[in-house]
């Protein structure tokens, strides 16, 4: 029993980490720019495809391919931000919801046209395959890697936001946008950079997670609900909230599957409703 708890916690955390790396950008987009971006999964999908095509077609080694996923998706998102998103800042939530649904549809069709029907193929390097033996249980190496790597990224991100001037500028802009401009912060540029970072992280998460959440053209729609739950339950404009929420969902989902598979995803949704009724702004939200 105890050892199965360890396994459930382990897999739940690995899953939660991926969810967090993908969703944290969404929390920032919605918290900072007030944009309800249902199309966030598109960036994660793009990351997965970049990883797989770079590795498969150009023989790029895994670490470099992961990095490319981050960089290319971040750059691509800037183009989208300038061309489309920026026109809808401050528009109503309905408008943003519909726009992002449109974007999902277009990108799903495009992904299918370019990459076909099969899931992005990810061949892990040998050093990330196999098992690690600890405490009498086996832990898949790749998931251990995911946990530590994501943790590294997350700490880096938190350090960036909490301890650097750039982070202070972002927080200032979230607090009082107009005042931030009054002290000389170019919020437009800042938003663009932050949007790119958030999207890049989604790309990174999509690439890293491609082995767990297979990346295929229907990806942005399939996982949308989970990304949204992470952000809504965690709370907008917060970094820690979605982290807790992602871990909660990862562990709860894994635990339900392990012990009560007949309930399916029922409990996760019920918990979401419960939490949101208890704290409508999410666990750590600063705004609704």
């Amino acid at each position: 029993m105890l050892s199965s708890v360890v396994s459930v916690a382990f897999h739940g955390v690995a899953y939660g980490m991926i969810l967090y790396v993908i969703s944290v950008g969404l929390s920032v987009t919605m918290g900072l720019m007030g944009f309800i971006n249902l199309a966030h999964g598109v960036f994660a999908m793009a990351g997965g495809f970049v990883l797989s095509s770079f590795m498969a077609r150009f023989g790029v080694p895994f670490p470099l391919a992961v990095l490319s996923a981050f960089v290319l998706v971040a750059l691509g998102s800037v183009v989208l931000e300038r061309l489309l998103y920026s026109r809808l800042y401050g528009a109503g939530e309905l408008t943003q919801v519909l726009f992002s649904i449109g974007l999902i549809l277009v990108s799903m069709a495009s992904a299918r046209l370019i990459f076909g029907d099969q899931a992005a193929r990810v061949l892990l390097p040998d050093y990330l395959r196999g098992q690690l033996h600890m405490m009498g249980r086996d832990f898949p190496t790749y998931r251990v890697f995911i946990i530590f790597f994501s943790l590294g990224i997350i700490l880096l991100l938190w350090f960036g936001v909490e301890r650097t001037r750039w982070g202070a500028m972002v927080r200032a802009a979230v607090d009082h946008r107009a005042m931030a401009q009054s002290v000389g912060i170019n919020t437009r540029l800042l938003f663009m950079a932050t949007f790119a970072l958030g999207s890049g992280l989604a790309g990174l998460g999509g690439a890293l997670g491609a082995d767990i959440l297979p990346v295929q053209w229907a990806y942005p729609f399939e996982h949308l609900v989970y990304f949204l739950i992470v952000v809504a339950v965690g709370g907008l404009g917060s970094l820690r909230g979605p982290f807790i929420a992602a871990l909660l969902i990862g562990v709860a989902d894994t635990a339900c599957k392990y012990w009560v598979p007949e309930f399916g995803a029922f409990l996760v949704y019920a918990a979401t409703i419960g939490i949101l009724l208890w704290r409508p702004m999410g666990l750590f939200g600063v705004r609704a």
């Binding site: 309905l94 549809l105 029922f266 949101l276 999410g282």
Partner: protein, 332 residues
């Protein structure tokens, strides 16, 4: 326009949809099953317009009521042997109303993303139930064996969909009449007041929350009826009536037509379904590309939807033909 300043007489243009439906029935008899499908989605969109367009509630979970209605009618027939069309409709309406009232009372205290997520989670839960409770619902295989007795003992649901089409048309007409009454009523005016400025509505002493729960219930009822119609026409219910996808689809249809203008709910589904049908024949693998582009276009350039474009064109034409009035407007 609704409210106290409105002329509530039915304008000749308002008969156009019904004339069109009649012509459709006689001129395109081979398309009647597509027609019935469109009529059902018009009803569904109309129910959404009531809360989205008139009361300003954005939801990603309207399929909860549509699906509950669909399954209620289906289970009634396939499991309990109740094949009377009107009994099925009434039961679906009742169940959806109940769900609408209960969930409405819980979620309408929240706003924005939270509200969006709650509506989404509720329909997701229903989807899970429908999936898991397969002895009742047939699970992922769907519920087959649904039957509908001939209407009034006379009209059998035929292969050409004649009965189905007319039946849907009559139900839609009744619903349209009800919705039209509501939006031109003091209650409807009050709803537009809430959408426009909820704070002021509180200040003039309106119990805003209860009023919203009420209209949410009405809307849920109509969505449930639409779902039941779908079951009756198809003699089948599948899981696709629940969850995010149908909620998103109906939202898209309504927006395409135009929100909060009653007839947007008529135009949107027609355009969406016809475009989808046509594109899907041409490019079955990529048809949603076209829908996506259309959606982005509407959001960026035509916020009022298709009817909004018509309005703008009409205004433009009017201001050209009457230069004086526009001069006055700009002078102000």
């Amino acid at each position: 326009m609704s409210g106290y300043s409105a002329d509530t007489r039915i304008r000749w243009t308002e008969w156009l949809p019904w004339v069109a439906a009649g012509l459709f029935f006689f001129l395109m008899p081979e398309y009647l099953s597509l027609g019935a499908r469109i009529l059902i989605f018009i009803l569904f969109a109309l129910s959404l317009d009531l809360i989205l367009g008139y009361a300003g509630i954005v939801t990603l979970g309207h399929s909860a009521f549509f699906g509950l209605g669909a399954y209620t009618a289906g289970i009634l027939s396939a499991r309990l042997g109740v094949n009377d069309a009107f009994l099925q409709l009434a039961a679906a309406a009742g169940m959806s109303a109940l769900l609408g009232m209960l969930t409405g009372a819980v979620i309408l205290r929240t706003r924005a993303l939270t509200l969006l997520m709650l509506t989404l989670a509720i329909t997701a839960i229903l989807l899970e139930i429908a999936n898991k409770w397969s002895t009742m619902t047939g699970g992922a295989d769907g519920l087959s064996g649904v039957q509908v007795s001939p209407l009034l003992g006379l009209f059998k649901f035929d292969l050409f969909g004649r009965t189905a089409f007319l039946y849907c048309l009559i139900v839609l007409f009744a619903a349209w009449w009800v919705v039209r009454r509501i939006i031109y009523s003091p209650y409807g005016a009050m709803l537009t007041g809430i959408r426009d400025n909820a704070a002021r509505m509180h200040a003039i002493g309106a119990p805003v929350y209860w009023r919203l729960v009420m209209i949410y219930t009405v809307s849920a009822t109509m969505a449930g009826v639409a779902g039941a119609l779908l079951t009756q026409v198809n003699q089948f219910v599948g899981l696709n009536v629940l969850g995010l996808e149908p909620s998103g689809d109906i939202l898209v249809m309504l927006i395409l037509g135009g929100v909060g203008r009653l007839y947007g709910a008529f135009v949107g589904p027609v355009v969406y379904i016809v475009v989808q049908d046509t594109l899907a024949k041409q490019y079955p693998e990529y048809w949603y590309f076209g829908i996506g582009v259309l959606l982005i276009f509407v959001v960026l350039f035509a916020r009022g939807g298709i009817l909004g474009i018509f309005d703008k064109l009409r205004d433009k034409w009017l201001s050209h033909s009457r230069p004086k009035s526009s001069a006055r407007a700009s002078a102000r």
